[in-house]
């Protein structure tokens, strides 16, 4: 599965990217470039937030669905790409 690693590496080496995490449907991180404790924290919190965001979108319009989630904070931007089975979390520092 070198393609998986290659894809993740391409994302990770982009300008300003601090970390990349792939989380499965149960909220367990399966690939990460950060240390363990940070990964577990991000995975748990963002998994729950993505579920809440998705239910918000679908409650407003049941034909609609969540495609992308971005959280902008003072220090960085967290981007979450959701899917049925996986979640891709990328943390970027955009001012670098």
């Amino acid at each position: 599965m070198a393609e998986v690693e290659e894809t993740l590496k391409r994302i990770q080496t982009h300008k300003g990217v601090i970390g990349t995490i792939v989380v499965n449907a149960e909220g367990i991180p399966i690939r990460t470039t950060l240390d363990n404790s940070t990964t577990v924290q991000y995975a748990g919190l963002l998994h729950q937030l993505t579920i809440k965001a998705r239910s918000t979108v679908r409650d407003i319009d049941p034909q609609n669905d969540l495609t992308f989630l971005r959280i902008r904070s003072k220090k960085h931007e967290i981007m979450v790409a959701p899917d049925k089975e996986y979640l891709l979390i990328v943390i970027q520092n955009p001012s670098e």
Partner: protein
């Protein structure tokens, strides 16, 4: 010539075996009859097949990973383009430049919210020598004593605590007053247990008080034994102890000793666990740097622990030296043994460029592992890196008086505060272009020196400063002194990297 021979065999009979045999008995046993049955089976069909493995290449293990996560590759392929497009857009976008969100009402000004006094101590003319916030951030303890008195005195001094979160706070009446037989020079609250306070006295003793006890607050003290300091103790700090979960006390005094004490609450004693002695001859590189002659022991006036490296600590001395020391140093000290129970070691590893007068305060930056700031009687605050002897930056704090305390802000990496002998607290922001103070706080203590300064660890907008006239002011800082900006860590890193080659 050679023929076969056959000889008769010669034998002897055993004399003892027969007697053993006569003792022998024989027994036998037998099971009940076993049931047996016979059956025959035969396969109706036969088939032959063979397998063989091919030479495997090393990418075999990746196959297992995808076996655990079916669909991962397809998911990433679908999502990759979208993510990369967003990453590129982000790094070029100016959409959020200068966009700030107000989550809380920002304080624009610095205001004094409390002025604490102890009228009894004030009437006797005692000065506030040291302050400490408890680990919960609600209780402040102040030590009253004398700094300007060069003589041994038997005046009774005290330690007072106020709980700032209580509703009935009376600034003129402390919640707790502990009487101490001699002047208290330094205080430190225990970082985990909010009721323990450690203090170092002018007589060289070190005491730990337990404020939760109603009768006798002293939990443990060193007493006057052969182990204690003979000179005033200027700094006490709590350090992680030898046993897990326990904290020991580190005390440093002007006799040149740094001693580590274990608290024995049961017996009420502080037991000496290990000790260091600083002697002039054992300080590295000192002969090339400083020409001052003096006694052989180095009086210690400032001590700082590094939050990044549990093994190293910094020491500031009466002669103007700042030394980097290590707890794990094994060199035996050249000081003559004075009947102590442990062998004293020499901890100094590196000597920074000295200043001309005593160094009153040293503090390590909580945001960068190599930076620390020091202040002394030359009226300057020096920003040092651990990697070089010369300071990175020297800021003029005040013109004609001393700097008594320097402290880094716990929330803004570029901000530190300095307390002067003229009664002012200057707060410097290294992110600004100018080298002058960002904010100056006048203590309104009639120009008397400010001897101690501490940021509240839990509520970082509170700053406590104690004056020589016996009052303590609690200041609430403005938002621009406490809110971290987006690029501060990067700026601090840049500053630290200006180490000369």
């Amino acid at each position: 010539m050679f023929t076969d021979e056959s000889l008769e065999t010669v034998g002897t009979e055993s004399s003892w075996r027969r007697s053993l045999q006569s003792v022998q008995e024989s027994r036998s046993c037998q099971t009940r009859p076993l049931h047996t049955a016979e059956a025959i089976v035969q396969a109706g069909h036969y088939s032959d097949s063979g397998t063989q493995t091919d030479a495997q290449d090393s990418s075999g293990e990746y196959h297992e990973a995808s076996g655990d996560h079916p669909g991962l590759k397809e998911f990433l392929d679908g999502v990759e383009e979208m993510i990369i497009k967003e990453l590129i857009k982000n790094s070029r976008s100016h959409a959020f430049d200068g966009f700030e969100v107000n989550w809380v009402d920002h304080n624009e000004t610095v205001s004094c919210i409390h002025r604490l006094q102890h009228p009894d101590a004030q009437s006797r003319g005692l000065q506030v020598t040291s302050l400490s916030w408890s680990c919960t951030g609600s209780v402040i303890a102040c030590a009253f004593g004398r700094v300007d008195d060069g003589d041994w005195s038997t005046e009774r001094c005290c330690v007072c605590t106020w709980n700032l979160d209580r509703r009935g706070l009376d600034p003129k009446r402390p919640d707790l007053v502990i009487d101490v037989p001699s002047a208290v020079m330094c205080l430190a609250f225990h970082p985990q247990r909010p009721s323990l306070i450690a203090g170092g006295l002018y007589s060289g003793e070190v005491v730990v008080w337990d404020t939760s006890r109603t009768q006798d607050s002293i939990l443990a003290q060193t007493g006057m034994s052969a182990d204690t300091h003979r000179e005033p103790v200027y700094q006490v700090q709590w350090v992680p102890g030898s046993r897990r979960g326990e904290m020991d006390m580190l005390s440093a005094g002007s006799g040149g000793r740094v001693l580590q004490w274990r608290v024995d609450g049961v017996e009420g004693r502080l037991v000496l666990a290990s000790g260091f002695a600083l002697v002039r001859q054992q300080v590295p590189m000192i002969n090339t740097i400083s020409k001052a002659r003096g006694g052989s022991s180095i009086g210690i006036t400032a001590l700082a622990l590094s939050p990044w490296d549990p093994d190293s600590f910094l020491v500031g001395s009466e002669g103007g030296l700042v030394l980097k020391c290590a707890f794990s140093s094994q060199t035996v000290a050249a000081a003559p043994p004075d009947g102590e129970s442990v062998t004293l070691r020499a901890p100094a590893q590196f000597c920074f460029s000295p200043s001309s007068g005593p160094v009153h305060s040293v503090h390590c930056s909580p945001f960068h592992r190599n930076l620390f700031v020091s202040g002394g009687t030359d009226g300057l605050a020096h920003l040092h890196s651990l990697l070089q002897p010369e300071p990175l930056l020297s800021l003029r704090v005040c013109d004609s008086s001393y700097v008594f305390v320097v402290r880094w802000s716990p929330t803004r990496p570029l901000v530190f505060a300095a307390a002067t002998g003229q009664g002012l607290v200057q707060i410097f922001d290294l992110g600004r272009r100018s080298l002058r103070a960002a904010t100056t706080i006048d203590q309104e203590a009639g120009g008397k020196p400010v001897y101690c300064l501490e940021f509240n660890p839990r509520q970082p907008h509170l700053l406590a400063a104690g004056n020589a006239d016996g009052t303590i002011n609690i200041w609430q800082l403005s938002a621009d002194l406490t809110e971290q900006g987006p690029r501060e860590s990067a700026q601090l890193e840049q500053l630290a990297n200006e180490v000369a080659d």
